[in-house]
Amino acid sequence: MEYEIVIGLEIHAQLLTKTKLFCGCASKFGDPPNTNGCPVCLGLPGALPVLSGLAVEMAVRMGLAVGCSINNKSVFARKNYFYPDLPKGYQISQYELPVCGPGFLVINVGGVEKKVGITRIHLEEDAGKLVHDQDVDSLFDVNRCGTPLIEIVSDPDMRSPQEALAYLAGIKQILEYLKICDCNMEEGSLRCDANISLRPKGQETYGTKTEIKNMNSFRFMEKALEYEARRQEEVLDSGGKIIQQTYLWDPSNNKALPMRSKEDAHDYRYFPEPDLLPLTVEQALIEKARASLPELPQVRKSRFINEFVLPDTTADVLTSDRHIADFFEATLNFFNDARQVANWIMGDILRIMNEQKITLDAITVTPARLGKLLSLISDGTVSAKAAKKVLDTMQSENKEPDTVIDQLGLRQVSDTGALEIALRKVLDEHPAEVERFRGGDKKLTGFFVGQVMKLTKGTGNPKEINTLLQKLFG
């Protein structure tokens, strides 16, 4: 039978606040274990939570960026369960009234645009970390306890793993544009759980879903979703039933391992957190957040297309990462030919990043340096071909383009006197070709220019050589 895949995603993003959600402890990845703790995040008797205003503001910004309604009043709730990484025996989250109501994200897969609904965005605290790889005991690290998260819950609107990837990429892009999450999936600052089910094509009601956790990269998510869709298809085709269950993706074996079934699912006994007042988000704060929103990826992309007359795909690549788009616009301040700048960024800057597996931070070619290099190409100081070599050296040696051009001896010769001497030498050495050229074989122009270039070791300006050639035979 032919099936339709139905996918919904729950994305947890760790907010880039300096402090934890309910206490003043530092919220930072990578500190030595158990260095960021206090009575509040350790759940000591008598300690009470106090909400971080900055985290609320960030959640509101995210909500606004994906068209969510912002609830003026939302309520924190306790999610009760026992686990050693949860010091209070409950997680402070939001349940019935989250800070952000429905919104949406437009994705584009294979040129087809689609609106994916966002059910809600809520604030919650993270649990601590358990380290199990010790000889005997499991160890507990409090540092992550109480760090602020937003959970972004989608509607079950995605119909393929590719759409799910595009949605996750879109959310990640916005989080980065808003600078509210560093979106490091390996370190866990961005985490994604998927609900997936199959239904016969044309059927309206949803099939039984399973949940997959621990997909900590785009590649793992794609593999996991494809694996689970295939597994469910096989079960259904052989007349079996899907059991509602939670799976953990095991990337080393490319398998989803069952974690718990619905029968032993927790009853979280949510109820309103009595230690916190209902969260009031004043209209003024919403307006302030709205006004402070940066230009978001899709808007920026349209502007790149219109303002700089760039092709759709080019604008797409440039705006996919806020840092690259910023780099592009910064370079334009130094060299005002958007197409050239775009081509060099997409061609060579991204090539260097890929080859060396580095991020833009590690690129030593600043927008000013790239702009300078491009103007040196434009004024004929260096040939476009030689400039690629120059760029590589600029990056590896962290130097200005002028310096590198001289260092490599690639300064283009545009001095007509020197070029004329070279040209005359070439003509003297090739009398037969000169005869044919005089006879009207204009195709030999390229031959002569090439010979001069060879003689000048590539530094001759081809345009100047051409002009000289016309003049001598004109």
Binding site: L44, P45, N80, G89, D267, F271, P274
Partner: protein
């Protein structure tokens, strides 16, 4: 028996003038405790050395520094569910028998800044769950008036310590009557402030939306003084309103002309013993003679108060006490093999029967499928009860009521029947549900046992409670 014949303020003035020293008062408190506590078991721990050291340090301060401290040199007792830095805070539970907080509760900080000298931690029902202090893991506390009787609970240790003259003031916590009821049984004054008046930071939570810290004293004016110290603004508790109480001396003017005292029919009906009814009615007559007027009021939803209270407080307790799992601090039972073993053995053996009963009840009322029928419904009824009070306070300034159905009962009398024990809270729980303040003031005796009267006011009107409370105190003194 009072620790001080004067009020705390007068005593502090005497220390300031050099007539007496903090050291001498603290020493007297410690001596009295040393003689009497073995019999009463009001204190679970006494920090003698620490208290004496602090008293002598205080005595050595320059005069101008002393003057700024309203509780200068005064010994106080602290209920053992309020965190004290470096001093065991057990909640009278095996679970926390070895727990030493690394921090002071905000109220303890406030007391220290005001110059008070904590002398010890007082007994209570385990995690403040009980009405007789019989649920303490560390032995019962006896009533100082009659040691065969319970002192009330859960702040039984604090009320007994003040009633026995060990200290002039003690901190209690009141979730459903735990300050007012033991105060009534021990013949002292107990004030439960408006919810949000006093910071709960450092109070080991029983039911967060009901818990409130308050003073137990021998004099109404001392309760006002303590409230002023305790009600400082505290950003560490999000539910703490920025409403510090000002202990204006006009409150104690004894001018009760025109004061409207609401008399709810529902409070004086069936189930109330004459032992309690008669002293209260006598007091009301005296207040009327002094210009107050009695106004009939009605609180129709009161009959649901006990049920509502025991759903909400157990629900919150089941969550608040989840942290006692043996993982991080406190008692851990290591006999099991798995994580689940550790959890269940630790909680099975670390917590007492009443605590476990309430955790189970609370877990049940929050469970999926039962939440709407119990917790949600109780939350709605709670609103109705609060509305009843709002309507009543349109007609009167304060409401008069009993604190308990009977004077202190005998030790062991109700331990076999938890429901009977729950029902003794009938007059006190509604103030907690509505978040309004209540005071218990002695109003006579019955068969030699103290009987208290309760006054309740609308939010933030502790001044009215202290006013009518002081008028009652003086009326009884002059009888």
């Amino acid at each position: 028996m009072r620790f001080l014949s004067d009020t705390i303020s007068e005593t502090v003035r005497n220390i300031h003038s050099g007539e007496i020293t903090s050291t001498s008062i603290v020493k007297r408190s410690l001596d009295t405790i040393a003689r009497g506590n073995e019999n009463l078991n009001a204190f679970l721990s006494v920090q003698s050395d620490h208290a004496l050291k602090r008293a002598s340090e205080l005595d050595g301060l320059p005069a101008d520094q002393k003057k700024s401290m309203p509780l200068f040199g005064i010994p106080v007792a602290i209920k053992d569910n309020i965190c004290t830095k470096g001093v065991p805070t057990t909640c009278a539970s095996h679970m926390l028998s070895n727990f030493v907080p690394p921090y002071d509760a905000s109220v303890v900080e406030f007391l220290l800044n005001a110059g008070a000298v904590p002398v010890g931690k007082t007994n209570l029902d385990e995690f403040a769950m009980g009405s007789s202090t019989e649920n303490s893991r560390f032995g019962i506390t006896r009533n100082p008036v009659d040691p065969s009787k319970i002192p009330g609970g859960s702040s039984g240790g604090s009320a007994a310590a003040v009633g026995a003259g060990f200290v002039p003031a003690a901190l209690g916590s009141d979730t459903g009557g735990s300050i007012r009821q033991p105060a009534s049984h021990c013949g002292v004054v107990g004030l439960k402030p408006t919810y949000g008046r006093v910071s709960r930071y450092g109070l080991v939570a029983f039911a967060s939306s009901l818990d409130q810290i308050g003073p137990i004293t021998s004099d109404v004016r001392d309760a006002g003084l303590l409230l002023e110290v305790l009600s400082q603004v505290d950003s560490r508790d999000s539910t703490c309103a920025r409403k510090p109480f000002s202990n204006n001396q006009d409150i104690y003017s004894l001018d009760t002309r025109g004061l409207r005292i609401g008399l709810p029919a529902e409070y004086f009906g069936e189930g109330l013993s004459d032992d309690v009814r008669l002293p209260i009615m006598n007091l009301l007559d005296m207040l009327k003679e002094r210009g107050a007027q009695a106004v009939p009021v009605s609180l129709p939803n009161l009959r649901f108060a006990i049920a509502t209270y025991y759903i909400i407080c157990t629900a919150e307790a089941s969550s608040n006490l989840a942290r006692y799992d043996g993982v991080k601090y406190g008692f851990r039972d290591t006999r099991g093999k798995t994580l689940t073993d550790m959890y269940s053995l630790t909680r099975q053996n670390g917590l007492g029967d009443e605590v476990k009963r309430r955790i189970m009840l609370g877990t049940y009322v929050l469970s999926s499928g039962y939440y709407d029928a119990y917790y949600l419904k109780a939350a709605k009824v709670r609103t109705l009860i609060a509305q009843d009070f709002n309507a009543a306070f349109e007609k009167c300034d304060v409401i008069i009521s009993p604190v308990s159905t009977t004077p202190a009962f005998s030790i062991g009398e109700k331990t076999e029947d938890p429901l009977q024990m729950y029902l003794t809270d009938i007059y006190t729980v509604s103030a907690n549900l509505a978040g309004i303040p209540g005071i218990s003031v002695p109003c006579g005796t019955a068969g030699g046992l103290p009987v208290g009267v309760q006054f309740i006011s609308s939010h933030w009107r502790e001044d009215l409670l202290l006013k009518v409370g002081y008028a009652s105190q003086v009326a009884l003194e002059n009888r």
